[in-house]
Amino acid sequence: MTVIVSGAMPMGNLLKNWQIQRRQEAMTGYGFMAPTILIAGVFLFLPILYAIGLAFYRVQLLGEVRYDFTGLRNFIRMTQDERVWIALRNTVEYVAIVVPIQTLLALFLALVLNRQIKGRSWFRVAFFLPTVTSSAVLTLIFMWIYNSNGLLNQLLSWFRLPTYNWLGDPAVALKGIMMMNIWATAPLFMVVYLAALQDIPESLYEAARLDGATGWETFFYITLPFLQPVTFFVVVMGVIGTFQLFDQSYIFSAGSGGPNDSTLTIVLLIYQYAFKNLDMGYALALTLMLAVVLIVSTVIQRQLFKEQHFD
């Protein structure tokens, strides 16, 4: 911003006015920001510093709160803790199966819904229902459907397919949660894809049609490349969301991660250590590990998507 001053006399006044105005603007700005700065400071930025610091302590919560510095002991303990490996394996398996399926399903549904068809908005609203329903309710509904004489097993036996003890069998309990989550999350990403599909310029398709491209060719050479940034967004959000799996396994297993640790996830393990074993320092160290895993996986995905872009 340049201030052009002509004549010597008013210059001092102008400068002073300008300074007062600037100070007023600054005060207004901070006035508007005050609630955010206060709340984010206390409940967002301070906790991060706290987490990093306290992961090196043993925290005694019962009675008088006590902190004992233990150095790297929490982190060393992590590598020897069998339940950490179980939770990590469950979570990674969960992410690896759920994210690709829900992404493909979302893309497929969006492509179908993007066609000019009657009742399109009605279908969108219908598909969206699971996304607005709480995870607690969804989990209870599915537990009811999964019980050994429940709806799912009845349907499976109707089609002469094998039935399972979805709630009690360690081999399939996590699969049950996976199915539920794919079902519940795919519609959200479907809408994201729908929005992106509408941003693809129609002229590209017209040009392709003039060149005699088939439907599949336009899909692979126009639609898919155009959707790549959105796919990155969907996959990253999917990975972050699935890595944080908690509500479903907590309600499903009544907080235990059972049967036989088969639904134990990282966040559930962190919760158990913090509030069941009251081992806050160790739980914080596990939280830091989760944060690092999330950051690293985001960076890896970014790299993967970048490389594909240059193919």
Binding site: A26, F32, P47, Y50, L54, S135, V137, L151, A254
Partner: protein, 274 residues
């Protein structure tokens, strides 16, 4: 009348099939909530109850004395969290978009960083801070940490950046102060963005499970998701009650969703396309 095409037929089959997949669990839950326990124990797939009854709903409110309280707690928390978010996120977004103050860029950068931090990472320190404030097991312990949201501060900033400046200048010439201009001129024109925010924040706080689980220890202070979980433990084989409670819990969210549906899609679009 267009001639029948196979592709259209397949399209509708897929759409209707998936709509069934979406609806069946809800229909089954609703149906269960209207059946007496004897019909459930008898087994068999009857989507339409043979002896429909509202008895289960009555039982929840009369037999479970805390159910009404949980409903109230959830409503209080969701109401204030939504109100504060609308006000604070808009104020911060407006300041970041429109007001030149030292540190503007730094705060914007910090908001972007905050966007990327999942709530689970800050959960335990948040608990420790709430504990030392003496806010555990209180409404403010649930409401204040959730009173702002980086995603919507970012969204409001993007909204206000594209907002015509002339209106504010006209208001300033009329002698309105910055805050009066904001409340009287700017906010009313931001209704679509505020509506999208309302629906997301309301749904988020209404459905939140982990934070109340950590903050609230006393069953009297439970919100509905926690209450429902406790309810499940208590009435483990009374699926008729559990499903009735689930339906009551889902209804307010559905009403809000039906009411703001248009803005919901807009909001997803806004947050989705970055």
């Amino acid at each position: 009348m267009k001639p029948f095409r196979w592709s259209t037929g397949i399209l509708y089959t897929v759409l209707i099939g998936y709509a069934l997949v979406t609806f069946l669990p809800f229909a089954w839950a609703l149906s269960t909530s209207l059946k007496p326990l004897s019909e459930i124990v008898a087994g068999g797939i009857h989507l339409i109850p043979q002896n429909p009854t509202l008895e289960n709903y009555r039982q929840i409110f009369t037999q479970e004395p805390l159910f009404g309280r949980w409903l109230l707690n959830s409503a209080i928390a969701a109401f204030f969290i939504t109100l504060f978010n609308l006000l604070f996120n808009s104020m911060a977004g407006y300041a970041l978009a429109r007001i030149r103050f030292p540190g503007n860029q730094i705060w914007f950068f910090l908001i972007l960083v905050a966007l990327m931090i999942p709530g689970q990472v800050t959960l335990l320190p948040k608990f420790l801070i709430l504990k030392s404030l003496g806010w555990l097991n209180t409404y403010q312990g649930l409401i204040i940490p959730a009173a702002i949201n980086a995603t919507f501060i970012f969204m409001m900033r993007q909204f206000f950046i594209n907002f015509p400046r002339e209106l504010e200048e006209a208001a300033a010439l009329d002698g309105l102060g910055r805050f009066e201009t904001f409340v009287q001129i700017v906010l009313p024109l931001a209704k679509p963005a505020l509506a999208a925010q309302t629906i997301f924040v309301f749904m988020g706080s209404w459905n939140e499970f982990l934070l109340p689980l950590v903050v609230m220890a006393d069953p009297e202070m439970f919100t509905l998701p926690l209450g429902l979980n406790a309810f499940k433990g208590e009435y483990i084989s009374y699926w008729n009650y559990i499903m009735a409670a689930s339906m009551i819990f889902t209804l307010p969210a559905l009403v809000v969703y039906a009411f703001f549906n248009r803005y919901f899609i807009q909001g997803v679009r806004f947050t989705g396309s970055k």
